[in-house]
C-alpha cells in the first residue's frame, strides 16, 4: 500500500507540473546557496590554514604597504637600515629580505614576463624553497657580486625545454645572469600567483646591474627561535619600524594577523552568503506555502472525497506533507548537483580553494526538508480541517 501511496503522490505532482516546478525551484535555490556557503566557508578556512602553514608559526613577515591600501610587495618603503636594525634583535634567525620587480627576461631569443627578485642571504631556507637542480646562492655569490640566478620551473621549461638549464645565460633587461639553480615546483599562492615563474639574484647584483635599489627593500622576513619570545620580538620590530617609517608604509604580517584577516574575510563571506541563502530558503518556504494553500483549496473536493472514503485528519495532513517531502527531496538532489557545479565555477573566481564539503550535502537537504515540511504544515492542516460535506460541494 505504501508503494501505491507513493505512486499517488508522484502522479499528483506530475499532474500539477507548474505547482511542482515552482515549489522545487523555491527550495532548490536555498539548497544551492547553502551548499555554496558551506563550501565557501570551508574553502576559506582551508586557505587560511594553507597560508599560515606556508608562513610558518614562528615567522614574521614585513611588507611595504598598509592595512588600508593592502600589502604591496611592489612598494619599496622598507630599507636595508631596517634590516640591519632588526638583525640586532635577540632570538631571531633566518633573516632575509628582498626587492621585487616584475620585468621581461629572455634567453637572447624569446622574451618572457616574469617576477625578478633581488634577495638577501637565507632567502631559500627562510621561504622553504628547495633547490632541485644545481645550487642556491653561496656566500661568495653575495660577496663577489656574482651575476647568478636561481629560477623556477616555468622559466627554465620556457627557455630550455627538456634541457639542463644550469650554466645557461638568462637576460634580465640587458644584464646576463648565469643560471646556477632551479627550485622545486611550488605551484600557486592561495591568491593565484604563479610561484614557479620567478627569478632570484643576489640583492647587490640586482642593485648594481638590474635596477638601482637605493637600499630599498619590499619584503623582510625572519623567524623566531623561541615562540615564547614571539610577541616581544614583534613588538620590538614594530618599534624599530615606527622609528624609521610612517605607520602606513609597512605592515607586519604574523600568523595571527593572517588568521584574523582571513577569518574576517570568511566571516564577511559567510554573512553575505548566509543572508542570501537564508533569504532564498525563507522565500522558497513562502512560495511553497502559498502554492500549497492554493493547491489545497483547488483540491478541496478531493479532500472531501478522501474523507468520505475513510481518510482521517492525520492521513490528509500526511498526504500533503508527503507531497512536500517529495518536493524537498527533488529540490535537494537537484540543488546538490547544481551546488556542486556552482562550487566548481564560483569558488575559483573568488580565489577560494574548491572544496566539496560532505557537511553541506547533509545540512542543505535536511534544511530543505525542514523548511518544506514547516511551510506545507499549515496548508496541510487547513486541508485536514475541511468539513467533508462542504468540501464535496466545491465540485458540483
Amino acid at each position: 500500500m505504501k508503494l501505491f501511496i507513493l505512486k499517488e503522490l508522484i502522479s499528483s505532482l506530475l499532474y500539477s507540473k507548474v505547482r511542482t516546478v515552482f515549489g522545487v525551484l523555491g527550495i532548490l535555490f536555498g539548497v544551492v546557496s547553502l551548499v555554496l556557503i558551506v563550501a565557501a566557508i570551508e574553502g576559506s578556512s582551508l586557505q587560511a590554514k594553507k597560508v599560515i602553514e606556508k608562513l610558518g608559526p614562528d615567522s614574521v613577515l614585513i611588507v611595504s604597504g598598509s592595512v588600508k591600501r593592502g600589502p604591496r610587495s611592489s612598494f619599496q618603503n622598507l630599507s636595508l637600515k631596517d634590516v640591519s636594525q632588526i638583525q640586532k634583535l635577540e632570538g631571531i634567525f633566518a633573516l632575509t629580505y628582498g626587492i621585487v620587480k616584475p620585468t621581461m627576461i629572455s634567453n637572447g631569443e624569446n622574451p618572457k614576463f616574469s617576477t625578478v627578485f633581488g634577495v638577501g642571504e637565507n632567502w631559500f631556507t627562510s621561504w622553504n624553497y628547495r633547490i632541485e637542480l644545481g645550487r642556491g646562492f653561496t656566500e661568495e655569490d653575495f660577496r663577489e657580486l656574482r651575476k647568478v640566478a636561481v629560477v623556477g620551473h616555468d622559466v627554465s621549461d620556457f627557455f630550455w625545454p627538456g634541457e639542463n638549464p644550469i650554466g645557461k645565460i638568462i637576460l634580465v633587461g640587458k644584464t646576463p645572469l648565469k643560471v646556477v639553480g632551479v627550485y622545486e615546483k611550488k605551484g600557486k599562492t592561495p591568491n593565484g600567483h604563479n610561484l614557479d615563474n620567478r627569478l632570484f639574484t643576489p640583492y647587490r647584483v640586482f642593485d648594481k646591474t638590474i635596477e638601482k635599489t637605493y637600499d630599498k627593500v619590499s619584503v623582510i622576513r625572519f623567524r623566531v627561535l623561541n615562540l615564547n619570545d614571539y610577541d616581544r620580538i614583534v613588538e620590538e620590530t614594530r618599534k624599530i619600524l615606527f622609528r624609521n617609517h610612517k605607520p602606513d608604509e609597512f605592515m607586519i604580517i604574523t600568523p595571527v594577523v593572517v588568521k584574523k584577516f582571513l577569518s574576517m574575510l570568511s566571516a564577511t563571506l559567510a554573512l553575505f552568503l548566509g543572508i542570501a541563502s537564508l533569504t532564498a530558503l525563507v522565500v522558497g518556504g513562502f512560495v511553497l506555502s502559498s502554492i500549497f494553500y492554493v493547491n489545497v483549496y483547488t483540491r478541496e473536493w478531493e479532500v472531501g472525497l478522501r474523507k468520505a472514503l475513510g481518510a482521517t485528519k492525520k492521513e490528509v495532513t500526511h498526504f500533503f506533507l508527503s507531497e512536500a517531502l517529495i518536493v524537498a527531496v527533488i529540490s535537494s538532489v537537484a540543488g546538490s548537483l547544481i551546488g556542486t557545479l556552482a562550487i566548481k565555477w564560483t569558488l575559483p573566481k573568488l580565489n577560494i580553494p574548491v572544496v566539496y564539503p560532505i557537511k553541506a550535502f547533509i545540512i542543505a537537504p535536511l534544511f530543505a526538508v525542514a523548511v518544506s515540511l514547516f511551510a506545507v504544515y499549515f496548508p496541510a492542516r487547513k486541508a485536514a480541517g475541511f468539513e467533508p460535506v462542504r468540501a464535496l460541494r466545491k465540485k458540483a
Binding site: 505512486k7 468520505a308 472514503l309 482521517t312 492525520k314 460535506v389
Partner: protein, 229 residues
Amino acid sequence: MALIELKGIRKVFKQGDLNVEVLKGINLKIEEGEFVAIMGPSGSGKSTLMYILGALDRPTEGKYFLKGIDVFSLSDYEISKLRAKFIGFVFQSFYLIPYLSVLDNVLVPVEYLPKEDRRERFKGKSPEGRAKELLERLGMEERLNFKPSELSGGQKQRVAIARALMNYPEVILADEPTGQLDSKSGKKVMEIFKELNREGKTIVLVTHDPTVASYADRVIKIRDGKVEE
C-alpha cells in the same frame, strides 16, 4: 437488528440569525439487503439525510445506529474508519481523482482501510486483483490505465461504483447517481445497482427522479424534513 436505524434525527442549520430546521425528527429503519430510494424535491433535506447516513455530517439531535453501533458516539477517527469499512459512496459528480488512472482510482479506498480489516477482507487476495475484477465486471477492463478525463459520464460512474464496492462495504449510498448521465447510461448504471442488490448488497439512493426510484424495492419520501413513506 436493522442494518441502519435512525431515531429522532434533527438537523438545524444556522443562517445568520435564523435557525433553519432541515430534518425534523427522522425515524427510519433499513434492513440488510434492501434497495431503498429516498425521494424528495430539492430542499426537502434528502441530501442532508444522505450525508448523515454516510456519517459525513453530524445531526443536531437524534441517534444513528449502523450495524448496532451508535455512530455519533464514536470519535472522529473511529467514524472515519467506520466509513472506510462499512460505507461505499457513489456521487452525482463521480469525484474521480483526475491524476490517477481508472485502476488507481478504484484502489484509493484500500489506503484508508485499517490494516487488520484489509487482511480480513482481502484474505490473501491482492487489492489490485479485486479492483481489476470489479472493473471487469462493470465492463471497464479495457480502460484500466485510462485517466478519468478520457472516459464518458457513464464510464466514470461505473468506475465510481467499482470504487464504492472496493472495500466490501455493508451499504452503498448513492447520491443522484444518474444526475449527470444521459438516459441510456443512467439506465445501465441503475441496472448495475439492481444487480448488486440482487446479490445481497444493501443500496440506499437519493433521487428526485421517479424513474430512478422505481428500481428500488422501497421508496421513502421526504418532504419538509419529514418522512412520508
